[in-house]
Amino acid sequence: MEDRDTLVNLYYTMVLIRRTEEKILELLLQGKLASSMCHVSIGQEAVATGVCSAMQPQDYLTSTHRGHGHIIARGGDLRRIIAELLGRETGYCKGRGGSMHLVDVQLGHLGSNGIVGGHIGIATGAALWSSLQNDGRVTVAFFGEGAMTEGIFHEAANMAALWRLPIVFVCENNQYAMSLPWTHATAEHSFARKGEAYGMPGIEVDGQDVLAVRQVALQAIERARRGEGPTLIGAQTYRFLGHSRGDPSPYRDKEEEARQRARDPIRLYQEHLFREGIMTQADVDALEAKVAEVIADAVRFAEESPPATLDSVLEDVFA
């Protein structure tokens, strides 16, 4: 059994992601974001939260265009995240990456990426270095199911399994890649079969159940750390909103949306916590208040920060 702190932290993280992204959408509508690119993960919080909770401090991860949740769950600095989105010099990328390029090398977060699947290479390489050095670290590569049909996924999965690299491939299957349903992306939907092609276990998990995700991730990460090689996790989840702003998702069935939204991972987990007597409504209210404060502080920090400058862009072309 998990201790109370862990269980409450999972809830806190999910709420923090949700509220932060709600705030980001608000800032977006106010025209405050410095870049037009912004993809929120509302509805998918349990995956980032469950997986990151299973990681050790020394571990690495790489992330996607829909990566706010990953960096928040990894303990990223909300101030620097919001500052990045507002295009400030204090942002994680000094304002020049925006929502798609968050990174925190101190936390082993090796960057989110605008090229679907592009960062899987970096993740594989980090795991290769860990394997060569035998440094005990594990790398987690998050990606959407859209990345599964890109060539780089194939090459990375094959190499990782071949060399038993300490990496966990976490597919957040939110059922759509922009407008393309997963049913129209591939003829084989079993993650077990997809993993087996490389000689690697493929495990499906309910991505709306944070505890289930955590369990599967703990096992896969420990397996990787023991030197037994990679695992492919297929976390079944759903993108509650459109692909990005201005996408009302007309290509999705409204009934399907309603059915999926009914399985809100935060609400499901809250019910569980209430049922098990781990948290009360009062606890939740206090937690929400704390989250609101943290977010308000981050926004304040960002808004007071100096804007990004061209000079710093010019300085950073070469290391």
Partner: protein, 334 residues
């Protein structure tokens, strides 16, 4: 004349060619149900059905490869690569396969294939969604490279590209989709390989393509206020390049500025500048100048992004320098 947007002009070209020729089909990511990331193919799925507007899985290499294979055996595919930045995932298929197919196989096969894509800044889309990579493709023998600046050219050139028996990189600009311009109702095409004088002038030639044509036109307008008459030549097709039109213009004006959004360093402007000085050395009154993007990864921040690519002020400034410098040289040598 009727005015429509660049994206609508492109859509009309696709629709008309699909109506005219049953072999024409579209394949790409989100081209059907979504209507294209920049809404160019909106409505075409409903009109032509899923066998002619094909939503492909996220697999850029095989999207181009499959289009190429279909072209080899009789189809006339238009493959869409959502951002030119993702063409990096299909370079083998474009460069080693499509471009070489006709020549490499001794003329036995041909690849009547259009690769539609878009590039450039203007939406703060960041370092991996805003690059301008036309110079790569122009450098590849066997590829045609087309970059329309106006709705009229977009429609006419896309129709020509679809009818061409060779692989054509058809590079749109994300900042132009909403641009309105005159487009006749009647059928027309614009030939590939022909540059276009978009504004006549006498003192300097501004050579540009894609979105920078509009920057050049605005600069020409501003220069006219101070008595400098600038000719604006829209290159339109980078490969094959219409040097004749460029040479005719610069022979007249004796001064040229080449403008593109791509990084100046190693950009296609270098080809034009190098050629012009080779061909018109004795005629040029000043060195051919180049204006282009700074050699940096493009920042996502919209304000920074603007500072990285050339603007009207810089064009005007450079022309003033050129003409001023020359006057200065003339007066000292006199």
């Amino acid at each position: 004349m009727r005015r429509i947007r660049y994206r609508e002009a492109l859509r009309e070209a696709l629709r008309e060619e699909m109506q005219r020729d049953p072999r024409v089909f579209v394949i790409g990511e989100d081209v059907g149900r979504y209507g294209g990331a920049y809404a160019v193919t909106q409505g075409l799925l409903q009109e032509f059905g899923p066998k002619r507007i094909i939503d492909a899985p996220m697999s850029e290499a095989i999207i181009v490869g499959a289009a190429l294979g279909a072209a080899v055996v009789g189809g006339r595919p238009v493959a869409e690569i959502m951002y030119i930045d993702f063409a990096t995932l299909a370079m083998d298929q474009i460069v080693n396969q499509a471009a070489k197919l006709h020549g490499m196989f001794g003329g036995q096969l041909k690849a009547p294939l259009v690769i539609r894509t878009q590039q450039g800044t203007g939406r703060g889309a960041g370092p991996q969604h805003s690059q301008s990579l036309e110079a790569w493709f122009a450098h590849v023998p066997g590829l045609k490279v087309v970059m329309p600046a106006t709705p009229y050219d977009a429609k006419g050139l896309l129709k020509s590209a679809i009818r061409d028996d060779n692989p054509v990189m058809f590079i749109e600009h994300k900042g132009l989709y909403a641009l309105e311009g005159e487009v006749p109702e009647d059928e027309y095409t614009v030939p590939i390989g022909v540059a276009d004088v978009k504004r006549p002038g006498n003192n300097v030639t501004l050579i540009a393509y894609s979105n920078m044509v509009h920057t050049a036109l605005a600069a020409a307008q501003e220069l006219s206020q101070i008595g400098i008459s600038a000719e604006v030549v829209d290159v339109r097709t980078l490969a094959p390049l219409d040097m004749d039109t460029l040479i005719a213009s610069v022979t007249k004006t004796r001064r040229a500025v080449v403008i593109h959004e791509a990084s100046v360093f190693g950009g296609f402007g270098a080809e034009i500048a190098a050629s012009l000085q080779e061909r018109l050395f004795d005629i040029l009154a000043a060195p051919v100048r180049r204006l282009g993007g700074l050699h940096v990864p493009l920042p996502a921040h919209s304000q920074l992004e603007k500072q990285v690519v050339p603007g009207v002020t810089q064009v005007v400034q450079v022309v003033k320098e050129m003409i001023g410098a020359e006057v200065a040289v003339r007066s000292t040598s006199a």
